[in-house]
Amino acid sequence: MSTRWGLFAFFLIFLFFPYGILLSKFSLALQLDVPELWWAFKNSTLQALMSSVGSFFAGLFLLLGFFQVQRASFYRLWMTRPLEVLLLLPNFLPPLFILLVLLSLVQPFPTGIPGVVLVHIMMNAGLVALLLKSLIENKLRPLVEAAYMEGSGQWRFFQASFGMLRRDLFAIFLFVFILCFCSFSVPLIAGGGKATTLEILIYEKIRISGAWGEALSLSFIQMLLILLLSSVPFQARKNLFSSQNPLPMLKSRVGMVLLFLYCFGLIFYFLSQSLKGWLQVFAVQGLWQAALELLPFSLMFGLSVGGLVAFLLLLTAWGAPDEKLHRLISGMVSPSTALMGFSLLFFISNESPWVEIKWALGFAYLIFSTLYRWGWDQKLSGLRDQIQVANLLGASRHLIFTDILLPQLLNPLAWIASVASLWALGDFALGKIVMGRDASLSLLIETLMSSYRLPAAHALMGLLLVMGCLCFLFFWGIAYVSRRALAEKI
């Protein structure tokens, strides 16, 4: 069997193993409660639609604010990257962070679809702003400059150029729609039982009714729907960072205010709450002790998930370019968290000493395809021509991997592994199913949120973010050392 087929078989088994485990124990339920399914489907679609439309408009205003800032007298070119990172932060931070801040900031919190939509917009607006920025700078820069010279206004320009960008805009919309459609942790907390989505219905079918067959069938339906959506042949461009000169004409003062609120407001609010929260942490008996005891495991868990995701991504690089493998991983857009969690219960028993590894494996599985599509796929396809030339020059797969691919992939790999660690540190949804106890700091934070000890939850979230920074340093350190070692070897 060739390496490519071996890799394909590995990923096929890896991506379908939760389904395999459950199918070996339960059979699919052929008779589903159609009105219930329709209701959940409607909720999923409605919240995803409203979230993506909201994220789109919020992202557009943030972008115009970004352009306005770029024109300010205090602005320097070096500020572009930090501002872009701040815009992306809500998307990189664990959903638990945004949930926590919004639950304490917006009082009373509108649980149900409005709450879910609000959280999704906060999470995705910055990402959409950067996707739109990349699109405008790459496709429209000459047109913007020409339109500006002709004296056009920005809204008139947007109207005129909409036709040209239709496909790209739809691709961005679809990208966000799918992210929101599959979301589990946000509707679980912000839905408050009023916005049962397909993903939540699967969770409830198992947790409350014990209807495994129905859950499996629902999960397959969801998977097919997502597969259908993701097979649309438009791909959002994901080269998010650029340091180009500001564009003329495009600007908005309202957008600039929104931008500052979005980038700094959340952080300042979080920091102020976090500082106050420490008093509560020390006031509640045993809480600080419990948090301290959970720190080492949480850190190990974050690092393990980051390492696992990095390993899986490197495997895809080993096989690159491989269109079949790319399609397989991209097609598995977002597997059901609930289904994955419950299948893991059967995979390794909870009494086993391997239970923590089970959680890490499961979480890496859940975020792997998302992170693969988060620019890794485009990075690999950008190296396709170099691989082809190296191959024609007679290089073995091993030589291509070590001398050509690895040195160019270490930075993005460290970046993705750090994000994976951060997400893992903040996981509570899968952990809640798999562990059944407060085994990590994030689960403790979720328990504090459920008991309305929000200031203490903020304080511990601060601790969790510090651990995220440690993971970040760890992976960048490894990348730095590896790069040096590879440079010496070559």
Partner: protein, 212 residues
């Protein structure tokens, strides 16, 4: 001379249909045609990057169409040059030595020759991404010839250069091919390439060879 037979492939709305193509085993054979005539597709098929069942490529006693792309030992310079940006010019040029495990003595001799003909000394230790267009082009040529290819394929290799650099590059190429005794297949739409370099011209239009 090597002979390619039954080079036929259908694309969406386009077809390549070449019953017989002769490629010189000395000097430059040029495939000349306008943009979209199918030149690059022919090159990719000959390299083995695209399937073409039924094709035969007789080279001495061998049928190269049955050999895997790396084992065809064809040196290639694509239009995009595709240097490895993280490596220095020297590392790029020596990459085939590592890939094909060429003995040191042979590799050093070849490297010295390429270095002197292409005048590479001044930028050998600069990273490829920092080289100018002309320098990149020379490095790509050196890298392709470092592995002692049986033939060199050049896909519009001068297209990214300005006029002054183009004529310099043509001269480099001519000297280099003579010095290394390597035949070449040059894909071009520039008539000046034909005047300066080609020993034989094959004119391509809509995927077919025009009569001489």
């Amino acid at each position: 001379m090597s002979v390619v037979e039954h080079l036929q492939k259908k694309y969406d709305g386009f077809e390549i249909e070449i019953p017989r193509l002769e490629i010189l085993d000395e000097g430059v054979t040029a495939l000349w045609g306008s943009s979209g005539s199918g030149k690059t597709s022919i090159l990719r098929i000959l390299l083995g990057l695209e399937n073409c069942p039924g094709m035969k490529w007789r080279w001495g006693s061998e049928d190269l169409a049955q050999v895997s792309p790396p084992n065809r030992r064809i040196g290639v310079v694509f239009q995009t040059l595709d240097l490895f940006p993280h490596l220095t010019a020297r590392q790029n040029i020596l990459f085939p030595v590592k890939a094909r495990k060429i003995p040191d003595l042979q590799a050093n001799e070849r490297f010295e020759k390429l270095q002197s003909v292409l005048r590479l000394e001044s930028f050998l230790d600069r990273r490829a991404e920092l080289l100018s267009g002309g320098e990149k082009q020379r490095v790509a040529l050196a890298r392709a010839l470092m592995s002692f290819p049986r033939i060199l394929f050049l896909d519009e290799p001068f297209s990214a250069l300005d006029e002054a650099l183009k004529s310099e590059a043509r001269q480099f190429l001519k000297t280099l091919l003579q010095e290394t005794k390597t035949p070449a297949l040059l894909i071009t739409h520039d008539e000046r390439d034909l005047e300066k370099l080609a020993a034989q011209v094959v004119r391509i239009q809509q995927g077919r060879v025009l009569p001489a």
